[in-house]
């Protein structure tokens, strides 16, 4: 897009100058607060205690959000905040996957804290500009942008240009505008959303970087929980950060040598092993499409089934043909896993950009499964088109996929009809219909806006306005805590059901993915085993979000000799890399056990944050039955042998003597009871009461017996 505008032509609303300071061992020891309603700025010091207990990233985000909001703050109150924090390791370039930021806010769909882990250069650049976190509060009466100028040490609130509106154009436009010249574009990163984020509750944020080889802007998404909706509701068009350059030791780490040594070792692993293992550099996470289909875990038709005969049309080979090969596709400097694949020159067939050739990011597995198989769409072109428009309109592809799939099932079951959808034939597999909904979301018109409120709100509306059966909708609506499920079928893995529904933010797989351990390996047969897995893995994975790290390099390549270790599923060599890198950056001396403790502190804090908001208890960890078993007769029949066997073996019931509706009921009772037992075991392992409340002794053990936490949990302890 041709851009003649310069930043000085945008009306300046308020400006603030600061002193740069120095990063020391991964920290600036200062965060930035901006109130865009009152046009105020504050620099906030980071205490040693804050670093000790909250580390950075999500930890900092939660601490600041707790301080900034009240228990009853709503997502669209001016007092709600968006906090972006990169974490102490973020910004090193010598090891793969070290450029992530964590974004937290009160979510419009869950009314709880949401956190989203995102790539792109904004987080590291924010740190290099002088801040460990950016905390935005208030609501502007005009559309504004916030410019953090790390080259001049100034922060500006400026009136935003009216056009362009959609992310793919806006990011190019602003990068061009804020960069001094072509060479300088790599020093600019933008956070933006899109038009659909304004009219739905499932808006996301795009974090950009400039791809110097392709000479285009690229984006990664902070997708979950509607933070893009909060962003647009605050009337923010974009956040811009600009720095001079990335220097090799910008984090001023305590000891660079071990980081370089581990980095080199990891790079060698990727080079030598990735092609025969997961092919991340060639196809990204799309390699999971065929694996999930083969193991009956790929969501099909709103999670009813786990595989489909047409799934080979959208397997990783089909995507590989479209992805540009041989390009370094890392979402942060130095990432050798390089999994952010892109399709160049894709011609759009619908919408406002019809006929234009564009670059499409991804699709990653979650997107391909969500907007594809889960909606019965097995066509690469359609998946690419939906992916592109979700990104540029600022929509989370996971929530979009699960919401559209739910609406499609409601349509096929006659719960809603053409009159409700405005004539859109919402059958499974109708890609045109899905795209129509998406364009409606951008315009704020039609049934698309209803779907864009997410599954929980649709359930409420369909029960209220169309007399839908509440039990059926509860069973088939794939949300927990108000967040839509991500794209794995958990029916045959009890542990994964907990991995989804016992999360703090709602069912997102980044906290625990234990389906293989449980369902395939049969490695954690008892409740205690499952509870141990649901303690260790969520805590371990939480750690990435405290540090500014990407999870993928941990276990998407397996080092030589991993199979000979005692716990290969934990990838001990990589865990040791992380411990070493943390110590080398910060100068501290933790071990792998303290790593888990660091996460536990923040994890329990987040749980108590939910309790403070009137949730976060056992009742809120309930799951929709479809996550645990077959809701309909057709689902039962699709795995009849397995289910019959379970009735016979475990419940001593002769399946021949029962009708399918009877068998569905019996199985439901059995599986729901087991889930309750799992809750008991996991709560105990996590140091929580039977109601899911962290016990005071446990908080003391963790060093998290902060007065405000004790005060919050106390009334809930019997």
């Amino acid at each position: 897009m041709d851009n003649q505008l310069s930043p000085s032509q945008l009306r300046l609303i308020q400006e603030y100058s600061y002193e740069k300071g120095e990063i020391n061992r991964g920290y600036n020891n200062r965060t930035l607060y901006v109130d865009i309603g009152k046009n105020e700025f504050k620099e906030r010091p980071v205490s040693d205690e804050m670093k000790e207990k909250f580390i950075g990233g999500k930890g900092f985000g939660l601490r600041l959000l707790w301080n900034g909001t009240k228990p009853d703050t709503k997502w669209d109150d001016p007092e709600n905040e968006i906090v972006i924090s990169p974490g102490p390791i973020a910004g090193i370039t010598q090891y793969s996957g070290t450029g992530k930021s964590l974004v937290v806010s009160i979510s419009p769909t869950t009314d709880l804290v949401i956190d989203s882990n995102v790539g792109g250069y904004f987080g590291p650049y924010l740190k290099f500009a002088g801040f460990d976190a950016l905390e935005i509060q208030g609501k502007s009466d005009k559309e504004i942008l916030v410019f953090i100028d790390g080259t001049e040490n100034k922060i500006k609130i400026q009136e935003a240009p009216e056009e362009p509106k959609d992310s793919h154009e806006l990011v190019e436009f602003l990068t061009e505008m804020y960069a001094d010249d072509e060479k300088d574009k790599k020093n600019v990163s933008i956070v933006s959303s899109g038009q659909a984020a304004e009219h739905t509750l499932i808006g996301m944020l795009n974090f950009s970087w400039y791809d110097v080889r392709r000479k285009v802007c690229r984006v990664k998404q902070a997708g979950r929980g509607g933070i893009g909706t909060v962003f647009r509701n605050k009337n923010i068009k974009a956040l811009v950060v600009k720095i001079d350059k990335v220097s090799p030791n910008a984090n001023q780490v305590a000891d660079l040598k071990p980081i370089m040594e581990r980095g080199k070792r990891f790079t060698k692993e990727i080079r030598e092993l990735d092609d025969e293992q997961n092919r991340m550099r060639k196809v990204g996470t799309s390699h999971l499409m065929e694996i999930m289909n083969e193991y009956d875990l790929l969501p099909v038709h709103n999670f009813q089934y786990g595989s489909h005969k047409d799934a080979s049309n959208v397997d990783s080979k089909s995507f590989q043909q479209r992805f540009t090969q041989g390009m370094p596709d890392g979402c942060w400097l130095g990432c050798m896993m390089s999994c952010c694949k892109t399709v160049e020159g894709f011609e759009l067939k619908t919408g406002p950009y019809k006929g234009q050739k564009v670059d499409v990011e991804g699709p990653e597995y979650e997107t391909a499964a969500g907007v594809g198989s889960n909606c019965g769409i097995f066509d690469v072109d359609s998946i690419l088109e939906i992916n592109f428009y979700c990104d540029t309109y600022g929509i989370d592809t996971i929530s979009y996929g699960t919401s559209v799939a739910f609406a499609m099932e409601c349509y096929e079951k006659g719960i809603i009809d053409d009159q409700v959808t405005g004539g859109i034939k919402l059958n499974f597999g109708n890609a045109r219909a899905s795209l129509k909904l998406l364009h409606q979301m951008a315009k704020g018109k039609g049934f698309g806006v209803v779907v864009g409120q997410g599954v929980r709100k649709m359930k409420e509306k369909f029960i209220r306005d169309y007399d839908a059966d509440p039990e059926l909708l509860q069973d088939m609506g794939m949300e927990n805590k108000g967040l839509e499920y991500s794209q794995y079928v958990s029916k045959e893995s009890l542990a994964q059901q907990g991995g989804y529904a016992m999360t703090n933010k709602g069912p997102q797989h980044d906290e625990a993915w234990v389906i293989f351990m449980d369902m395939v390996n049969n490695q954690i047969p008892t409740f205690e085993d499952k509870a141990e897995a649901l303690h260790y893995f969520p805590m371990f994975r939480t750690w990435f979000g405290l540090m500014g790290l990407c999870k993928l390099p941990w276990n998407d390549v397996e080092p030589v000799g991993n199979e000979e270790t005692e716990e290969p599923e934990k990838v001990p060599e990589h865990v040791d890399n992380y411990v070493t890198i943390f110590n080398a950056v910060t100068g501290k001396n933790i071990n792998k056990y303290e790593l888990i403790k660091q996460s536990e502190r923040v994890y329990n804090f987040q749980r108590i944050f939910n309790i403070r908001r009137g949730k976060g208890k056992r009742a809120h960890d309930a799951q929709p039955y479809r996550a645990a078993g077959p809701v309909t007769e057709e689902e039962y029949k699709s795995r009849e042998k397995r289910y019959d066997e379970q009735l016979k073996k475990v419940l001593d019931i002769d399946p021949q003597e029962k009708s399918i509706p009877e068998k569905v009921k019996l199985l439901k009772k059995y599986r729901e009871d087991r889930y309750e037992k799992l809750l008991d075991a996991v709560y105990e392992r996590r140091g929580w009461t039977r109601q899911g409340i962290p016990k005071i002794e446990h908080l003391k053990d963790l060093g998290m017996d902060l007065p405000e936490l004790i005060e919050t949990v106390k009334p809930h302890l019997d």
């Binding site: 293992q277 490695q523 276990n555």
Partner: protein, 74 residues
Amino acid sequence: METQQTEKNTITVNNRTIEWEENMTVRRVLEVMNYTFKMLVVKVNGRLVKRKDYDHALVPKDADVKVLHLVAGG
């Protein structure tokens, strides 16, 4: 008349019983189980079998086979 039950030769794979075949290799076990995932750790009676040996490593009758699928992606 009573039917005579012939005892079947079996192995267990991840605690599930399957039929054993003459000259059954690790590769064949993976095929029977439909384990197509690449990131596996295979142990036969507690002993590790390396990936390069899947085609010729034999699985004896009554063996206890563990096929650990490592996590990726998710």
